[in-house]
């Protein structure tokens, strides 16, 4: 995040992180509403989006967790999908806490 502040300023980081969090909140809720068989493409698309956006903010663990889901979306089983979402949510909670502790956003 420090390097991002150097590039776009503190206010820019605050604004864009707020956008990221709002999007990620929606995305994680959506993951829970999706089912493997009918929604594999959407799962892949959403995971890809989360991977890229988390990576842009240096949230590497979240980005890697999303990448794993993206790459397995075409064949993942329902049980493994549920487990992957648990991991994703845990990683996101950690990232969100980190962002908040850095006083970047509320």
């Amino acid at each position: 995040l420090d390097s991002l502040v150097a590039e776009i300023g503190f206010e820019g980081v605050q604004q864009t992180l707020s956008t990221f969090i709002a999007e990620a909140d929606r995305r994680l809720k959506r993951f829970r509403q999706l089912a493997c068989d009918p929604d594999r493409y959407v799962i892949e698309l959403e995971a890809h989006a989360l991977k890229g956006s988390a990576g842009n903010f240096g949230l590497r663990h979240l980005s890697e967790t999303a990448r794993a889901l993206e790459h397995s979306a075409r064949e993942i089983t329902a049980n493994n999908y549920a487990a992957a979402l648990d991991c994703l949510e845990q990683s996101y909670t950690t990232a969100r806490t980190y962002i908040t502790k850095q006083c970047i956003v509320g």
Binding site: I8, Q15, T16, A22, E23, L45, H48, S53, G55, N56
Partner: protein, 184 residues
């Protein structure tokens, strides 16, 4: 005049990242309010990051959240370069690129792909379809700036462009970035 042969001189390249923030050529272009950049990405935070970065450096930014919206903007208005995501719902970036190249050569409208897809296959496909360059996410801003600079300096700006026709917009600007073209 720069030599240009469609299909063989597209300015494609690999690159080494270096800071270009203070390059007098690009800053001159940007400060003249003539450099207009279209940022296309379905992910709002990615659009916001790129828009904020380039807006803070004097670029005029328009944003599109889908391939269809991007093509509509390009049809309506003139841009100097496009930053284009690939994996989007609906029309993906490759199809957007294909359609852009039906009407705009890589010389007249540089398109730089910005994607979290990192395979050589995706990069090759994009370049084969007429992309000028390819940036992978996480975005390295200095690299993005260097590439935009490179392709802008290869492309003549349109002196006939009517600045009064510019305001457009699809999304509100990120607050600290005041040069976005977007209007409410």
């Amino acid at each position: 005049m720069r030599r240009f042969v469609e299909g063989t001189d597209r300015g494609q390249s690999t690159f080494s990242a270096k800071s270009a923030k203070n390059d007098p050529t690009i800053m001159s272009l940007a400060n003249s309010n003539q450099v207009r950049l279209l940022v296309v990405d379905d992910v709002a935070s990615s659009r916001a990051l790129l828009s904020c970065y380039f807006s803070n450096r004097g670029f005029q930014i328009a944003q599109a959240d889908s391939g269809a919206a991007a093509l509509a903007l390009i049809k309506q208005q003139s841009f100097d370069a496009v930053l284009l995501d690939i994996f989007m719902p609906g029309m993906d970036g490759i199809e957007v690129l294909r359609r852009i190249r039906l009407t705009h050569s890589s010389f007249h409208l540089p398109v730089i792909m910005v994607s979290a897809k990192t395979s050589k296959l995706d990069i090759k496909l994009s370049l084969d379809m007429g992309a000028n360059d390819y940036i992978t996410k996480p975005i390295d801003f200095s690299t993005a700036f260097t590439l935009v600079q490179k392709h802008l300096t290869n492309t003549p700006l349109d002196p006939e462009r009517d600045q009064s026709a510019l305001p457009l917009a699809t999304f509100p600007p990120v607050a600290p970035c005041s040069n976005d073209l977007n209007v409410d």
